[in-house]
């Protein structure tokens, strides 16, 4: 089962490598990873998606908590939550394709954020499956380059992840 783990950790050099190292060292899989400082600059928030049964996720959570730089770990998938991934995609946009790509982007409520003579850069935000659908909907347009931010997420309602 796919899980989203949100991790608050000390904004220290080496902290990220400890988290990533844990996954490779113990044979856990990281599907996506996203990390940035929070409003409290001593803390970073890391969101990672991984897969595994309950036993495996329990072990991952325990090992993450064991890392000295890690302050808190939450499994967002345990409760109601929102998740967003951001996609930038550069496509060939020439002739009839130019309009077609724009239409598809509008339907998905995406944006064209760069216009070149023969290319567009499109931006789309949403849950992973929406981004996947968009990529397949682009269909015949020639995709030149894709970059995704990895999932970021939060619990719904009153629940907050702070120290």
């Amino acid at each position: 089962m796919r899980r989203i783990l949100s991790v608050l950790m000390e904004n220290e050099p080496g902290a990220l490598s400890r988290v990533v190292g844990l996954f490779s060292q113990r044979g856990y899989n990281i599907e996506s990873l996203n990390v940035a400082p929070t409003t409290d600059h001593t803390l970073s928030r890391l969101t990672l998606t991984t897969t595994g049964d309950d036993l495996k996720i329990e072990q991952i959570t325990k090992h993450l908590n064991k890392i000295v730089d890690v302050v808190k770990v939450v499994d967002l998938t345990e409760g109601a939550h929102v998740e967003r991934d951001m996609l930038l995609v550069k496509v060939r946009a020439e002739g009839a394709q130019r309009d077609e790509v724009k239409r598809t982007t509008d339907i998905f409520r995406g944006q064209i954020i760069d216009v070149g003579p023969a290319t567009y850069i499109l931006q789309l935000t949403g849950p992973i499956d929406k981004l996947d659908s968009f990529l397949s909907a682009l269909g015949e347009a020639e995709i030149l380059e894709v970059v995704r931010s990895g999932v970021a997420g939060m619990a719904r309602g009153e629940k907050v992840l702070t120290i």
């Binding site: 950790m9 000390e10 050099p13 080496g14 490598s17 400890r18 190292g21 060292q25 036993l55 329990e58 072990q59 325990k62 090992h63 908590n65 064991k66 000295v68 730089d69 890690v70 302050v71 120290i163």
Partner: protein, 582 residues
């Protein structure tokens, strides 16, 4: 406030921590620190002959005393040589602080001379690591390093210090912090009371209980409490390889070691038990054998200070996260309370008596100390050498070992009645551990007998430390069980590879260990005749101020038994002699 250079701060901080010995080896990036050591002349430094030995010596010191071991090495090769010893300490949860010199800050990342990314290389085998970035931070970092190394589940901590930050002319305020508080590191201090209650109930209702105690009981200073609890309940106890001494070996309730080369009665009792109380043990693959067949009828209570050790290998019915001492105290109190408030007698005396008679039958049939006698060979049997060591030292020595058959024979035949006396690399299985570890112990406890049980393979991995022992007068006794083979490799080759001895035989290449010992100024003794074994052992230990190298020629084809059947065996499945399985 006092102004100190970074180098002086390190030495002063170690002094403030009450460090008794630094084990280390100087080199370019650590020279400012070494100059501070010389000038301060406060904490004694032991100059080893190889950095690996520094870590093992600090490790042995830590295991025997319970205090953290301290290592100082230089950058690059100094740091990488220390890695094996850090990994050894990590696997066995040994508190250790390793300070490594690093190239100057402005050279980091430029592939400078003797540069290696120590924090990166050591990352998977340390509890935590620090790269010092400002001299002012040194006192608080060292304080944190000791705090992290010694609390919760102990482990090694690396502090990497760029050379420029230790420069003698750059001085800053020095004040050693009195306490540490870290929001991201708060080890458990108490077990969950609801779980403790459940555990007590389960234990008191057990009909075939076993207490399975590991190294955590020793590290957590829980031996006495565990022994009291076991005696109060009259329950059988088995210790892991790391836990030997946690429960006294000569006690009637002791079943011996369990696991791959565990005692028949210990493995049988585990397999047939209905309740297992696991304390400070981690269900290692050398204990469980095939996990899916592990103790099918048992409910498991698992006490460990490290939550990640619980339910890692086998599902646990009652997990209790906390230090062994507080949890065992709480458990003991709960047991009293439940016994007092119950209308029937708990535990069920009749069931426990039946269980004991079953165990006694197993013990009588195949118990190592009760069944077999060794004497079938013209050679000295390795088991007899250990028994002779046990008798010569009245069972009170600190015994280190290397890794292989000799390690298992020592674990089986030296009856450890006290914690912290059996010092071996159980987790990582590091050959070359024994001699430097013995050195660290003897330095810490000059009046204690310290023996290193080894083989001719392992001893040669750190034999250069004979020189360190000469320099600092460290009169340990080396008991070399010499069979001219890498014995455990040979045993597996006999069992699984039709005795094709691929690279496990020394032909006629072994040195004359007697002369070698003498070359370093020590005493060497060659023992080939059975009749000489016991007198030689006594003679060696009578030489209190001499390092004695006992080179004992043992039966080359002996195997370690019992051995659990693998693959696909359960705990109860064991080969007991060569007649069952070569």
């Amino acid at each position: 406030m006092e102004q100190l250079s970074g180098g002086d701060m390190i030495v002063r901080a170690l002094e403030d921590e009450g460090v008794e010995y630094i084990f280390g080896y100087p080199g370019g990036a650590a020279l400012h620190i070494y100059d501070s050591i010389f000038k301060a002349n406060s904490v004694p430094h032991i100059l080893v002959r190889h950095e690996q030995a520094a870590t093992h010596a600090a490790d042995g010191y830590a295991r025997a005393t319970g205090k953290p071991g301290v290592v100082l090495v230089t950058s690059g090769p100094g740091a990488t040589n220390a890695i094996t010893g850090i990994a050894t300490a990590y696997m066995d949860s040994i508190p250790m602080v390793v300070i490594s010199g690093q190239v100057q800050s402005h050279l980091i990342g430029e592939d400078a001379f003797q540069e290696t990314d120590m924090v990166g290389i050591s990352r998977p085998i340390v509890k935590h690591s620090f790269m010092v970035q400002r001299t002012e931070d040194i006192p608080s970092i060292i304080k944190k390093a000791f705090y992290i190394a010694t609390t919760g589940r102990p482990g090694p901590v690396v502090v990497d210090v760029p050379k420029d930050l230790t420069h003698p002319e750059h001085k800053f305020d020095y004040e050693y912090p009195e306490s540490v508080s870290m929001r991201s590191y708060q080890p458990s201090t108490k077990g969950h009371s609801g779980q403790v209650r459940k555990a007590a109930r389960l234990l008191l209702n057990a009909k075939r209980p076993v207490i399975y105690a590991g190294g955590g009981v020793i590290q957590g200073e829980g031996s006495e409490l565990l022994t009291q609890l076991a005696r109060k309940l009259n329950y059988p106890v088995t210790n892991t390889l790391m836990g030997l001494g946690a429960y006294p070996a000569t006690d009637r309730q002791f079943l011996g070691m369990l696991g791959m080369h565990g005692f028949y009665e210990a493995n049988m009792a585990m397999h047939h038990s209905d309740v297992i109380l696991a304390v400070g043990a981690r269900f290692d693959d050398r204990v469980t054998n095939t996990v899916s067949k592990f103790c099918p009828g048992a409910k498991i209570i698992h006490i460990d200070v490290d939550p990640a050790s619980i339910a890692k290998i086998v599902p646990v019915d009652v997990p209790i996260v906390g230090p062994v001492t507080t949890v065992l105290k709480d458990l003991d109190a709960q047991i009293d309370q439940q016994q007092a408030s119950s209308e029937r007698t708990m535990p069920d005396a009749e069931a426990i008596a039946d269980w004991w008679s079953q165990i006694d039958n197993w013990r009588a049939a195949h118990g190592l100390w009760h069944g077999r006698r060794y004497g079938e060979s013209d050679f000295i049997m390795p088991q007899d050498a250990i028994t002779a060591l046990y008798e010569a030292t009245n069972g009170e020595a600190y015994v280190t070992s290397d890794v292989g058959q000799h390690q298992m024979f020592a674990a089986q035949y030296y009856k450890f009645d006290y914690p912290r006396r059996w010092i071996n690399s159980g987790g990582l299985g590091t050959m070359g551990f024994g001699l430097p570890a013995a050195m660290g112990i003897k330095l810490a406890m000059p009046d204690a007998e310290v023996a290193c049980v080894t083989g001719e393979g392992s001893i040669q991995m750190n034999i250069q430390e004979l020189s360190t022992c000469a320099q600092y007068d460290v009169p340990v006794k080396i008991v070399n069980l010499r069979n001219n083979y890498l014995g455990m490799v040979k045993q597996w080759q006999d069992m699984q590879y039709d005795s094709r001895y691929s690279e496990s035989h020394y032909a006629s290449s072994l040195p004359d260990f007697v002369k070698l010992a003498e070359a370093y100024g020590h005493v060497g003794m060659e023992i080939k005749d059975k009749a000489d074994l016991e007198p030689a052992m006594r003679e060696a230990f009578a030489m209190k101020d001499k390092l004695v190298f006992l080179d004992i020629f043992v039966e080359p084809h002996e195997h370690v038994y019992p051995m659990q059947v693998a693959p696909n065996g359960a705990m109860k499945d064991m080969w007991l002699s060569k007649t069952e399985r070569t």
